[in-house]
């Protein structure tokens, strides 16, 4: 029998966030320019497994994916059992900047999907100096609620089953079956109310429509990649951001949906690798 290990290393980082002790699960692989990856609402860092295992990326990048508190292997902080989890823009921003500081990452490239793509827009606006470049996947300035979010967390509806069923149609039609269903499994494994709590940021608190045009891409380049089949953050919504942010570059990815990095990594890499190469060339030129 043969077994192999992937080159990914996972560790737990102890970190104080919002005045409370947290234990954050962090995976990483590769060396070079840090590439910090933000998962979608209700999922976890496993969504970036293909990037962490991709030699064409890891030979020049230190790829890092962490599970947000309450997600994946990052348990909620002590006292969680009496609280309702709700992610806010301020918490999300603080969390990312604190993790960058704690890991001593020098102006990482940030890549975030969905809620991660939204907070990427916030960071591009408010903290451009902290990042070498920002890549927003499925990034729009706002999404109106289109179903009753209370169905995600109530005792007569299974939270895992309904969360996966809500997002299942967001996976593009060409996704390989194993990748489609693993992407959905991550949703099925989410803790009670966590997906709903993330959507508080996505659909209510994180609305950046009135400020997004102020993003200055001269301070931090902004790339937007969105899947054609995403009806949560539609291609039109991504293109609207792109048209209001001079210097940003948007690409609509054919056949892909809301989870490009996990639903169909091979197709996604065709879009991501040229962006990373371009960022690499710009970094080398500015260092010369």
């Amino acid at each position: 029998m043969t077994s192999i290990f992937e080159p990914i290393i996972g560790r737990y980082m102890h970190l104080d966030l919002f005045g409370r002790k947290h234990r954050i699960y962090v995976e990483e692989a590769g060396e070079g320019t840090p590439l910090l990856c933000l998962h979608t609402a209700g999922a976890d860092g496993r969504q970036y497994r293909a990037l962490l295992n991709e030699a064409r990326i890891t030979r020049r990048h230190r790829v890092i994916a962490f599970d947000m508190p309450w997600h994946g292997k990052s348990s909620p902080p002590a006292g969680w059992h009496e609280e309702e989890y709700q992610l806010t823009s301020a918490q999300y921003t603080t969390m990312i900047l604190e993790i960058v500081a704690a890991m001593e990452l020098d102006r990482p490239i940030l890549i975030g999907c969905s809620i991660g793509g939204r907070i990427a827009l916030h960071l591009a606006l408010e903290h451009p100096e902290a990042f070498r470049a920002i890549i927003g996947l499925q990034a729009g300035a706002h999404v109106d609620p289109y179903y009753d979010l209370n169905f995600l967390h109530r005792p007569d509806v299974h939270g895992g089953e309904v969360s996966a069923a809500i997002v299942s149609g967001l996976v593009g039609p060409d996704a390989p079956d194993h990748a489609r269903w693993e992407t959905l499994w991550h949703y099925m494994q989410g803790g009670p109310g966590v997906f709903k709590g993330d959507l508080y940021f996505y659909k209510l608190d994180g609305d950046i429509r009135d400020r997004v045009a102020r993003i200055d891409t001269k301070r931090c380049p902004l790339f937007l990649l969105s899947g054609e089949y995403d009806y949560s953050c539609t291609p039109e919504e991504t293109l609207a951001v792109a048209s209001s942010v001079p210097g940003s570059e948007a690409t609509i990815m054919k056949g892909l949906g809301h989870f490009p990095m996990s639903e169909n990594p091979d197709e996604f890499l065709k879009y991501l690798l040229p962006v990373l190469e371009k960022i690499g060339r710009a970094t080398a030129a500015s260092a010369a």
């Binding site: 179903y147 299942s168 009806y231 539609t234």
Partner: protein, 122 residues
């Protein structure tokens, strides 16, 4: 046509198993044509075409005929590939006691998508 729902769903053992705790009747409206669909423990037991005088159902799914036609096409275009996509575009109205619909959302999505393979575009 919509009547194909019975054999299509009942012939899929995994789908019926996932619906084993589902017993309900719902109304499906394809434009002006209404259908009452009764499910018992995951199996579709009747599909009845309207018009009805006083149809009783747990919930209703209503969309224009052309929207269902896109949904039931072999490779639906973006925005038409999923019940939630139709709801997001406000072309599919889901009304009534939606707890049953949401608690069994995967079942209903997969059951209605069965009509794609049946070539059931109305």
């Amino acid at each position: 046509m919509i009547e194909a729902l019975g054999p299509q769903v009942n012939g899929d053992a995994a789908l019926v198993r996932r619906g084993r705790y589902l017993t309900t009747t719902f109304l499906l409206e394809v434009g002006s044509t209404a259908w009452l669909i009764a499910i018992f423990e995951g199996k579709v037991v009747s599909v009845t075409r309207g018009p009805f005088v006083m149809p009783s159902s747990c919930f209703a799914l209503r969309a224009p005929e052309e929207e269902w036609a896109k949904f039931w096409s072999p490779r639906p275009p973006p925005g038409s590939n999923d019940l939630m996509a139709l709801i997001k575009r406000r072309v599919l109205k889901a009304e009534g006691d939606l707890q049953v619909f949401m608690a069994n959302l995967r079942y209903f999505k997969e059951a209605l998508a069965k009509l794609r393979s049946a070539g059931a575009a109305p």
